[in-house]
Amino acid sequence: MAKKSSAGRITLQQDLQALPFLAPFLAIFGVFIGFPLVYSVWLSMHRTDIYSSWYDRFGTMQFVGLQNYADVAASIPFWWSIFLTFVYATLTIIPGMILSLFLAITLNRKMKGLGFYRSGFFLPNVFDIYVVGVIWLLLYNPNEGLFLRIFEWVGLGVLVQDGFLSNPYLTLPCIALAMVLKNAGFGMILFLTALNNIPTSVFEAAEVDGATKWQQLTHITLPLLRPIILFLSITGLVATLNAFSEIYSMTDNTGGPGVNVGGQTLQAARVSGYHLYRVFDDSFYGQAAAISFFLLAIALVVSVINFKFLAPKD
């Protein structure tokens, strides 16, 4: 942390000097981040009165205790969304990591056009997820999209006769592919930075000892990249808990094709972030707040693992 106060006790005058600089940030933080955390707790114990006016939704809510939490815990759509979130996380994080690592190792050398390739692979990261999703919707178009034409051209049209995003087994993998390609450049840059920090003498020594390129990768590079790999998998998992825009755009705000789950028709791409939005959009604000605390609990478990692995070993 910052340096210890060496000038002895902190005076009220020092507080007053710091205050003008802190006030704007802390005020907005308090109103829009600090207070919401507390307010969420209140919300999660209340239920919307269906007869209230739109502009006073939150003024007329009724106290229901822990009922919302009980409802969420007993809700099949919620657990289905959590299951899908982990499926989606697996589909995005592992292929994404492999692609990022491949790009980083390939681009970690002296070659012509290095900057061009690095920027090119990174560029999609700054695009609007919603808009990119709409473009993929066109590419995956079930009647005449590019991907359908490619499958037909190589003679595999029969595989995708149910479409891409409209086939419940393909919806999430197809969304995941789009997101992996969009985000791979970010992991690549992180890996590149870490690769730069490995002294070349390590590899030279390994080469003298007769290690093959593959042995150098598995015995030197990968262990040294472990922190980045863990960072990417943990942040990736927390990010998938929030995944919303790509689902919204690529399923046209339907959540994907319906599948039968325990007697209910649920959507094949209704991951937790999108499920939360739908509950919110249906004006179940209390239940939405309760769901977000379930997500927080999952994120905290993930973060504890995060700190456990990332804490400096020395």
Partner: protein, 461 residues
């Protein structure tokens, strides 16, 4: 001395490098596929989005086969009528009379409809055209009409062929050759394709496009030849962009302006507040400083979704739905930005602040003359990060604006536009360009600063 024998490497260095470039370029194209596809689709002429055609077509074969006329026995009359938009045209002979009859006309090239009536008698033949089975019209090319406006064709005794206007197709076999003469618009160019596959270019001469097949040809097809400019114009256009900017129900110009205001204001406020607070946390002494900072950092672990409902409730309570403050203010307390700035200000030598204090500089002057100039690089980085983030903050913008709100931003406007014109992909992609292309340009120009900020959080142990 002989060189010691060495095994030949599997691939030479040059081959390996080439393969590497091919692989990387292929991968890059795949990663950039959405960008490429968006631009290509946005530039296509309406209806050609899904045709998978990218190369402009220099020629277009008309399906209809034209027959080379042979002089027949008796008398015949040929009727021609031009209407490119019609789907069906019928020739009505002797309308209103006892012998009224109809002939379906066949469509030939360039919106030209033709019907031939054999065995007509000398005298006046009244006729009209029925377009799409509903509109009855008189012949616009023949001024001869009776008192009720019905066109009249005069057939001279002894003539073999009469026509309501100079014949469109005057091709005839002349000895060993087939002389093609087509009365088609002068400004266009054509060639003809015989059923045997011979192709002959036509030249405009003496009122018709003319050419010659070496042998006797019975049927042939007309091919429209396009200049390069015409060919490109048939496939690509900027019309999608102008149409979108001129759309009354979906004011894209307004959306772009709103998104720009939201992203710029949010970025400016974020940079200002984060720099002020970062300076305080790095340099100043105050109660609970370290606890407070740790608490702020901890809030970064909470999934953003948890804030969605309460932030919406507060914004609603403040009356900020459908306003710029509602779009901007909730996101300007950026803890990651504060962290970046605090680290950066912390690197400024303390002596600088001490010296300023001894010189009696005011707090404001210290901030303005020391902190801001020295932190400019990281401030630019944070500005860009926030700008990019808010340009794309779809979920929040969707929540705090109602349909047709005056502050609708680009992603939300595009979403509404897509709801209405979902299959009009050329227009939807033109709308997408307005979101993607400015950010692409911004990234290309400022990538050094952007990458620094995006990776700072992860790389700092």
């Amino acid at each position: 001395m002989d060189q010691p024998w060495q095994p030949q490497p599997f691939m030479t260095r040059r081959v390996r490098t080439t393969l590497l470039f091919v692989l990387l370029t292929g991968l890059l194209l795949f990663v950039q596929l959405p960008l490429v596809w968006m631009i290509l689709t946005a530039l296509k002429v309406q209806g050609k989005a899904q045709t998978l055609q990218f190369m402009p077509q220099r020629s277009e074969v008309f399906d209809q086969e034209l027959v080379v006329r042979r002089d027949g026995e008796g008398q015949s009359a040929v009727f021609e009528y031009t209407d490119a938009a019609a789907t069906e045209v019928t020739l009505l002979l002797r309308p209103g009379g006892e012998e009224e009859s109809r002939r379906v006309m066949s469509r030939t090239v360039e919106g030209l409809w033709v019907a031939e009536v054999e065995g007509v008698e000398a005298g006046l033949l009244p006729y009209q055209f029925v377009v799409n089975n509903s509109n009855t019209v008189s012949d616009p090319d023949n001024p001869a009409e009776d008192e009720s406006g019905v066109s009249m064709l005069r057939i001279e005794p002894g003539s073999t062929l009469t026509s309501n206007r100079p014949l469109f197709n005057e091709t005839r076999i002349d000895g060993e050759t087939t002389k093609v003469a087509l009365r088609l618009p002068e400004e266009k160019s054509y060639s003809v394709l015989s059923s045997q596959g011979e192709s002959v270019a036509l030249r405009f001469e003496n009122g018709a496009h003319r050419g010659e097949f070496p042998g006797a040809v019975e049927t042939f097809q007309v091919v429209r030849e396009y200049s390069l400019g015409e060919a490109i114009g048939n496939l690509y256009t900027l019309e999608n962009f102008t149409a979108i900017l001129g759309n009354k129900d979906f004011p894209f110009g307004r959306y772009i302006f709103n998104s720009f205001i939201v992203a710029t204001m949010a970025a400016l406020l974020t940079v200002l507040f984060c720099t002020m607070a970062g300076y305080a946390f790095a340099v100043k002494q105050f109660h609970f400083r370290d606890v407070l900072f740790a608490g702020l950092l901890a809030s970064m672990l909470v999934p953003g979704m948890i804030y969605m409902v309460p932030q919406f409730a507060i914004t609603l309570k403040l009356g900020w739905i459908d306003t710029f403050p509602g779009l901007i203010v909730p996101h300007v307390a950026n803890v990651f930005g504060l962290f970046l700035l605090r680290q950066y200000v912390g690197q400024i030598p303390k002596d600088l602040f001490n010296a300023a204090q001894i010189d009696g500089a005011s707090e404001l002057n210290v901030f303005r003359n020391i902190v801001i100039p020295l932190c400019m690089p990281i401030m630019v980085t944070l500005f860009l990060l926030t700008f990019v983030g808010q340009w794309s903050n779809f979920l929040w913008q969707l929540i705090v604006t109602q349909p047709a709100s005056p502050v609708t931003t680009l992603p939300v406007g595009l979403q509404a536009f897509k709801g209405q014109y979902g299959t009009d992909w050329e227009r939807v992609m033109a709308g997408a360009c307005f979101s993607i292309l400015p950010i692409t340009v911004l990234f290309i120009v400022t990538q050094k600063y952007l990458l620094e900020g995006l990776t700072a959080g992860a790389v700092k142990e």
